[in-house]
Symmetry: C2
Subunit: 400 residues, 2 copies
């Protein structure tokens, strides 16, 4: 029992959830019917209800938190489908994909911005913001279509982890430059911690969790114990990942991978429930941040379009080149899968804005690039994976 | 890829989630091993990590939002197990249980506070804060033990809905008195909207959703469509419930009930995942709000203890009396199930505080009463339901 007055907070949260979730799922349905990827519909829903068009919902703490949790659960559930032993096998190719996929967009973004006349530090920051792939979008497409088992998919996931560490180093160097100091020892430490964390969890994680889960079944009494322990590992590793300098989603992915071989089907089902509920807030949340008003100026619009083309081509060509040994079909798949920048590009842009080295118009351009790449990738992936047979897709679409 | 600096928000959220979730599940496990209800462990975990003892986590927007969503999903998943036709059958008994269960604590709380020497308006507000049952705690215990099918459980759920409407009316009258005006027409309107909303959803809901879900299977393409539509209904009805003046959880329960006969097992599983993840934030969140420091004064402590006894006995005896036709075993079950006040009592106390009619010490006493009743109910329920055979409990404890 409660008055509206007393539940105003709850009403605001529920209103935002209803509008964001409802709009995302409605447009997903519309896009699917038009034979377009539903995920694009969910991002477009965010653009429509957001500050650019309808003004129904503004990005706020609740939507941000739910979206952040959404992408964490998304990468966790993807990790649950991946065995770490399989990632090690394709480690060489993935490393090459990540290195070329980081170098190409960084140099192209930096060069184009400098040629366009932006100040040197601002130009180098644009390059840094174009570096890191946000693997959430691609992971969603591949998981929903039952395509995670393909070799190209495994390479995308492994490359995204390495890409994230490289992106951390690029950002560390670039923000050192912006502050006018370069500290090689600190940089080496940053690299060491990030790489050490990743390798440690990827190698020891699976074995340790296998042992823990085996002991659990016999001993613990509280209901849904495996799921609860999985969530504690998820929250813990996501947090540790941030402390180690990489993104929370890398920790989430590693947590999933560590559990992939030891948890029951039940844990998969329960995780899917949480993921289904939260992911629309991540996707629509990306769309919500798009502010189209800065593009009233033709010059800004032209540079944004140019940068978008550079962002797409540099990842597509760079990452494909890294996978040259696998043939054209897989090269295209990997290139397309690495295109989305999403929330990761925005984080770099926000940092630059906070440091005062990039200006509002460039910030808006980077956000536009980050959102637009998430819209371009799903249709490309659909084409690239046309000839791959889905696996477990039945479960994803199970209507009973 | 991201720096700690850029993910500070995410780190704070993940830290709070890790501590709250981890502590709740750890203490649940400890309590289960000591043969105590796990739910009490989760509330105690909130007390321990909160401002009263360890100061690790303070109640904040994130935990509040997750907790609010947790109790909404909890009542939704309970609603999914209840057919509205079954509730109608026991409507007469439930109404009597609700009426006596509202009158007894209101009069006793008011009378005791007045006798103890509190001002008339403050005393009447204490009575109002003792009125409404927070059915979340009881629902969690009964659902986890597979006891929702028992007659007593059905009566508790139906009585909680009616109790909520009565509580709304009591609060409307009391806050009218506090403002020094009494508006019978507005009061009648409030009652009409709340009752109308409840009856409408309870009667038309099931039929309508049955038809909608039947059409869905044949038509819709996007994955997990039933679950998505269920969530839209859940968010929508929870929001409408607030607008109609009742608690969001009543809308959530009605949404679940409307879908009980039409959704697949898959929707149940996915909902359980979300519920399992969020409920610890609701339970530990209750414990977090307990501030024990005000009880340094013996007089305050004595009155708090007296009020707690009154809160427990008035519901236990009042609600049991309403179910006199069912015999002693069911009377005890129903009385025990209606004891918890939880977040609902706190909302009334907050309103009184905001209106300036109740003072800080009385606020703390009411919050203490609200939290303590949630700790007392689960062990009583365990005893009361000892002779009832659980149903579907296997699923709740499925470790694969």
């Amino acid at each position: 029992m409660a008055f509206v007055i007393a539940e105003q907070g709850a009403a605001a949260v529920l209103f935002a959830m209803l509008v964001v979730f409802g709009a995302a799922k409605l447009l997903a349905e519309v896009f699917e019917r038009l034979n377009q990827p539903g995920i694009v519909g969910e991002i477009v829903a965010g653009v429509l209800i957001g500050p650019s068009v309808l003004h129904w919902v503004a990005p706020g703490e609740t939507i941000d938190t739910l979206g952040e949790l959404g992408v964490i659960f998304l990468l966790f559930s993807v990790g649950l489908e991946v065995k770490s032993s399989e990632l090690v096998k394709i480690g060489g190719t993935a490393t090459l994909v990540a290195i070329l996929g980081v170098a190409a967009p960084f140099l192209l973004g930096w060069g184009l911005s400098a040629l366009w006349g932006y100040p040197p530090v601002e130009a180098i920051f644009v390059g840094a913001a174009m570096v890191a792939t946000s693997v959430g979008i691609t992971a969603r497409v591949l998981a929903a279509k039952g395509l995670l088992h393909a070799t190209a998919s495994r390479i995308i996931l492994a490359a995204a982890v390495i890409d994230d560490i490289l992106g951390l180093l690029v950002l560390a160097i670039v923000s050192g430059l912006a502050r006018g100091k370069f500290e090689p020892i600190e940089l080496a430490m940053t690299a060491l911690v990030a790489i050490g964390f990743t390798i440690l969890v990827a190698t020891w994680g699976t074995r340790t969790m296998g042992r823990v889960m085996a002991r659990l079944d016999a001993n613990l009494q509280a209901g849904e114990t495996q799921f609860n322990l999985a969530l504690v590992l998820l929250f813990g590793l996501s947090l540790l990942a941030i402390y180690a300098g990489v993104a929370a989603i890398i920790g989430a992915f590693l947590a999933g991978m560590a559990l992939a071989e030891s948890v029951t089907e039940r844990v998969h089902h329960l995780t899917q429930g949480v993921t289904e509920m939260l992911v629309p807030f991540f996707l629509a949340g990306i769309g919500l941040r798009l502010d189209l008003s800065v593009f009233a100026q033709p010059a800004t619009f032209a540079f944004a379009a140019l940068l978008l083309v550079a962002a797409v081509l540099s990842k597509l060509v760079g990452c494909a080149a890294g996978a040259y040994r696998l043939g054209r079909a897989d090269m295209f798949r990997i290139g397309a899968g690495m295109i989305p920048r999403g929330e990761v590009g925005m984080v770099v842009a926000q940092l630059g804005l906070a440091m005062g080295v990039i200006q509002k118009p460039v910030y808006a351009i980077v956000v536009f690039m980050a959102v637009a790449t998430t819209l371009i990738a799903p249709p490309l992936l659909k084409i690239a994976y046309r000839s791959v047979e889905p696996k477990d897709a039945r479960e994803q679409y199970d209507l009973g």
